[in-house]
Amino acid sequence: MAAITSTPRQKFGWGLANALTVVIVAIPVLWLLSLSFKTPAAITNASFWPSQWTWGNYSGILTTQQFIRPLLNSIGIGLISTFIAVILASMAAYAVARLAFPGKKLLIGMSLLIALFPPISLVTPLFNIERALGLFNTWPGLIIPYVAFGLPLGIYILSAFFREIPWELEKAAKMDGATPFQAFTKVIAPLAAPGMVTTAILVFLFCWNEFLFAISFTSTITSRTAPAAIAFFSGSSQFTSPIGPISAAAVVITIPIIIFVLFFQRRIVAGLTSGAVKG
């Protein structure tokens, strides 16, 4: 169904375009990888590949709390935010897809508004609110905003998924005496699991990537996430460049995500497009 007709020349053209795309995608990632393996002296030789390979940058960052702690923060904050957002979004999406109640349009409108909301508009007021509530520089101080920004995405994807689930099964469960809550947990939730996995992946990617809140609502490594911590890296002395350690840290937070993305690519594509195109 793909190509209607393709001559060898067209095939060659598409192949060339494919190769070009892959190269353009790969170069910045390979450059980061190369920098992370360069010795401090070789950083300034501007060659694309290291002449001498070293693990020094990695052993440097992986033995300092300045990176390990933020890495653990990133994992913890990301997982907790994702878990809460998926649960809350599943509940709301189930209601949107299955139940008749007034205010549904309002909920969808609100989700859209938040999906399009400029986060910087919240930084100043939330900064002051978090200071007053003692949430500044704590895990919940990041988890709460991450859940709020993960919810719209989750509600969109999951309500699209929930609409595809056959009604009859839920009816049958209710006929057999299940309460609406049992119909939800015993029948619909297992069928909706793939949608929930997709949502979880996208929300986790968002949390892992987030930078503005991470630098605004934290002040030390007790709650600073990895991307924010990297931005505050400095050389071990003022005469050493932090380029090597920064590159190594950037690779460390990138490689798992690349593997993750490649592994779950179908789900990610389905999730990204179901929300935006088919509603």
Partner: protein, 312 residues
């Protein structure tokens, strides 16, 4: 359904027909359950967005600097006067609009080419679909460092190729680098949204047009484009508003130096460098209004269907 529910609920407690009362009980229970399920999500979303934006409006009417908390007082709209008469605000707005318009325009063209590439090729399709997800998945900060180091004189391969140039040290080239970094990161997202639109175009139409002798370009402009217009508009809406709030790339690449600051960078600097909650909140509110204006232009002006609104 909804009308019967309405009348059932507003009916007096002793409704005459018994079966009707049962229906109303069921409908009421369903309605309560619906609200109950949505409540936690709604509460979190309101607590984190609606309440702070209202609070930002309140703060924007005050002179409130964390360095001088004792001088806090109500000043009406004078913060708005100060920001709107400041060349920094207008510079940031122009820089933001340039970055937004140029990057989204290029992304639309590249994204469309990439979507067609992913849709049409057979050989290596899986490889391309997989590889375009890398820029989408990579942490923006990590990618931004890659571009920054690539353009650092005597360190970067790109700088070396272009005669040891230092584009990040000058306004216009630096904005160019920021735009390239933005395009590299987000074109895949645009392409995936357009690809989903392309897959909805019936193949029969294309075949019929081919039989009638339409060229590939004619088929694209007369059949494909009109049919995927809704997908294009949604992708443009999302990407425009996303580009308008650009922060990470600029923060890493130039930190807003050399006149490359966007409105988001300006808002951040006002809070954390000047500690001015009043002015910072005023900028927050103005950015919010700008985003609302862009969204209204898209939805009312171009008729972009707000996703999710049509099939409730």
């Amino acid at each position: 359904m909804s009308t019967t529910t309405e009348t059932a609920v507003t009916a007096p407690p002793e409704a005459p027909a018994k079966h009707r009362k049962q229906l109303s009980e069921g409908a009421r229970a369903e309605r309560r359950f619906g609200w109950l399920l949505c409540a936690p999500a709604v509460i979190v979303m309101i607590a984190v967005t609606a309440y702070p934006i209202v609070y930002a409006i309140v703060l924007s009417l005050q002179r409130y600097n964390l360095a001088f908390p004792n001088l806090r007082k109500w000043v009406g709209f004078s913060n708005y006067g100060a920001v709107l008469s400041s060349p920094y605000w207008w510079h940031a707005l122009v820089v933001t609009l340039i970055i937004t318009i140029v990057s989204v325009a290029i992304e639309l063209v590249l994204g469309m080419l990439l979507a067609l590439l992913m849709f049409r090729t057979i050989f290596g399709r899986g490889l391309v679909r997989t590889s375009v997800l890398i820029p989408y998945g990579i942490v923006t900060v990590a990618a931004a460092y890659s571009w920054q180091f690539a353009w650092t004189p005597s360190t970067g391969y790109l700088s070396a190729i272009f005669g040891n140039s230092a584009p990040l040290a000058h306004t216009v080239p630096a904005i160019g680098v920021i735009i390239v970094a933005e395009i590299w990161k987000t074109t895949p997202f645009m392409a995936l949204l357009l690809l989903a639109g392309l897959s909805l175009v019936p193949e029969d139409l294309q075949k019929a047009a081919m039989v009638d002798g339409a060229t590939a370009w004619q088929r694209f402009t007369r059949i494909t484009l009109p049919l995927i217009k809704p997908a294009i508009l949604v992708a443009l809406l999302f990407r425009t508003l996303d580009a308008f709030r650009i922060f990470d790339n600029i923060y890493i690449l130039t930190a807003g130096g050399n006149g490359t600051y966007s409105v988001s960078i300006l808002g951040y600097d006002n809070l954390f460098n000047s500690l001015s909650l009043g002015i910072g909140s005023t900028i927050s509110v103005l950015i919010f209004i700008s985003v609302a204006i862009i969204a209204v232009i898209f939805i009312k002006g171009f008729g972009t269907a707000a996703p999710g609104s049509e099939n409730l």
